[in-house]
């Protein structure tokens, strides 16, 4: 099958995955019973999920643990056969694992190492060169580009076990991208990294996407990843899609309220309950916050200014973490 410009590189239709897991109660008696007779139950990890992703998009795939994110990524990268539904990635059905498919996509799992610990990353890169059938020229140009973005030269000579987590992730990404995939499935690519390493990986992904036009579907528990990279997000919970749309629309749709931050003269503490729902925020900026429905913001602000001795007032969207948290549980 050939792709034309209008065919989305990722198209998913009613994709479902049900696992059979052994079901046994705790305790010794149940363990003995389970040894002789297993009882199974079905876990619906993904239930009839549908979406399309356009060429060059970076989409954040969000959901609490066990929501079905990784299962979906595994089906899209061909590791898992679905229980039902269809998926088309770059014109291929992923789980048929055709060479043409495997050569044009990549999967990065932040919690699982691709690189061998005992050998320098440079050696693993050479193995990948052979596995993906890259000519020396292709390899050199691909590596040159990745090196320019990730500054790999120094670190790829050391055995991987001696690298810091951040350095290792750079190498993991490079190893996953040497064959210039057109679709990237990234499962928690920044997990465990410190803030500055996270920022570097984010900047890299953004630049890589800009240069290559690759389509990226990524999961992350770090909202900073999502806000920096993704204009669009898909929220999945209990295997079902709860939201699919622009990140900027999410708060309007899911949490149509604003936070009014207030600082009062003489630092007095005012009971804000009459104005809305007082909230405590983690950042200790000395301000008091009250949550009010979006349409009432101007009225409440006017009342506050009239009735209280306000020194400073800010109006902000609720933090994205809260909004997403709310989206999960709706």
């Amino acid at each position: 099958m050939t792709l034309n410009a209008s065919t989305p590189p990722i198209a998913v239709q009613a994709l479902s995955k049900t696992y059979q897991v052994t079901d046994r109660a705790g305790g010794f008696g149940a363990a003995v019973k389970g040894f002789f007779k297993r009882e199974y139950k079905d876990v619906k990890a993904v239930q009839s999920v549908s979406f399309e992703i356009a060429q060059g998009e970076i989409v954040g795939f969000l959901g609490p643990n066990g929501a079905g994110k990784t299962t979906t990524l595994k089906m899209l990268s061909g590791l898992l056969h679905p229980s039902g539904g269809k998926a088309n990635v770059l014109g291929f059905t992923p789980w048929e694992r055709r060479d043409g498919f495997l050569k044009t996509m990549t999967l990065v799992m932040g919690q699982r190492n691709r690189l061998s610990w005992d050998i320098p990353a440079a050696d693993s890169f050479l193995l990948n060169q052979a596995i993906y059938g890259l000519s020396d020229a292709e390899y050199a140009s691909s590596f040159g580009e990745l090196n320019e973005l990730l500054d790999l030269k120094e670190i790829i000579r050391k055995p991987v076990r001696q690298l810091s987590l951040g350095e290792r992730m750079k190498c993991e990404l490079a190893a996953a991208l040497l064959h210039r995939p057109k679709v990237l499935f990234l499962d928690e690519p920044t997990i465990g990294l410190d803030v500055s390493a996270q920022a570097r990986i984010r900047a890299f992904l953004k630049e890589y996407n800009r240069r290559s036009g690759a389509t990226i579907l990524l999961t992350s528990h770090y909202m900073a990843d999502v806000t920096a990279l993704c204009e669009r997000i898909i929220i999945i919970h209990h295997g079902q899609i709860k939201y699919d749309g622009a990140l900027s629309d999410l708060s309007r749709r899911i949490a149509p309220y604003k936070l009014i931050g207030l600082d009062f003269d003489d630092d007095t503490v005012v009971d804000l309950a009459p104005y809305g729902q007082p909230v405590t925020r983690e950042n200790e900026d000395g301000m008091q916050y009250v949550q009010v429905p979006a349409e009432k913001v101007s009225a409440v602000t006017a009342r506050l200014l009239a009735e209280q001795r306000v020194r400073d007032l800010t109006v902000a969207d609720p933090p994205i973490e809260d909004v997403i948290e709310r989206a999960f549980h709706e």
Binding site: T70, S77, R97, L102, T106, M109, R112, R114, A130
Partner: protein, 262 residues
């Protein structure tokens, strides 16, 4: 096929660099290997100091058998055991996932990710033992015997490799199965001696269940002219069939594979 060869040669190169980088380790390994060779030869000398033959096997035959066993054991030590460890770790940690997203035959890839290249020294030692054994026994070897010996040695090794693939594939069905190869590991040393020295139950075990005898005793029997052409073809066919069957089992197992967690 060309890509597989390219992937194999890349792995050999990278692993050889490893062996060279850790040269003390490699030299100690080679020295240990030589010490075991001395031990093996000494035990043969002790045995034949008091006996003319063992169940009809002369000293020369036993030395040839030792050479064949060493060839097989080199396969196990250089490729099979190291890759078993890597495979089991990959199952536990979920990193085996990456094997299945690579555009290369997954069975071939899991078989060659680790190669102790220095063990190639052992191949020469084994070949020398085989030649020395033939010289010791003094019986002339016909071309047909030599060819069937070589072919059965290769098909026998292929059979053991196939058994290994089947055993590790079982992990796909049972998930927690770290002992997948322990039976093979425990029995491999039986290949040092002709199958006929063992009690009947053991002989049946190493011929039909874990066919180490097929990979060691049988080729030497071919060399000694003890196999009928039909038997020789039969054993060869078993090797080829085993190899094919193993790749079917691997494919079925890998379809079941769903990673260490959802």
């Amino acid at each position: 096929m060309r890509r597989i060869l390219r992937v194999i040669s890349a792995h050999v190169r990278v692993n050889l660099q490893q062996d060279l980088a850790y040269r003390v380790d490699t030299l100690v390994n080679i020295a240990t290997m030589m010490a075991w060779l001395g031990y093996d030869l000494a035990s043969i000398a002790v045995l034949f100091g008091s006996a003319q033959n063992i169940n009809g096997w002369l000293a020369g035959d036993i030395i040839v058998l030792l050479g064949v066993f060493r060839m097989l054991n080199t396969l196990m030590m250089s490729i099979v055991w190291p890759n078993t460890e890597l495979f089991n770790r990959g199952i536990r940690e979920g990193t085996l996932d990456y094997v299945f997203v690579m555009p290369v035959n997954s069975q071939a890839l899991i078989s060659i990710r680790r190669i102790q290249v220095w063990q190639v020294v052992n191949v020469f030692v084994a070949a020398a033992l085989i030649l020395a054994g033939i010289a010791t026994s003094g019986t002339p070897v016909s071309l047909g015997e030599a060819v069937s010996f070589l072919v059965l040695m290769v098909s026998g090794a292929a059979l053991i490799y196939a058994l290994w693939i089947v055993l590790i594939s079982l992990t796909f069905w049972f998930t927690k199965f770290d002992n997948n190869v322990s039976l093979l590991q425990a029995l491999i040393d039986t290949g040092r001696w002709p199958a006929s020295v063992y009690p009947m139950w053991m002989r049946l075990l190493v011929t039909f269940v874990v066919p180490i005898a097929v990979a060691t005793t049988v080729p030497v029997q071919a060399l000694r002219g003890e196999l009928s052409p039909l038997e020789a073809v039969g054993y060869f066919a078993v090797g080829v069939a085993g190899f094919g069957l193993a790749s079917l089992v691997w494919r079925a197992g890998s379809r079941r594979y769903s990673g260490a967690s959802s």
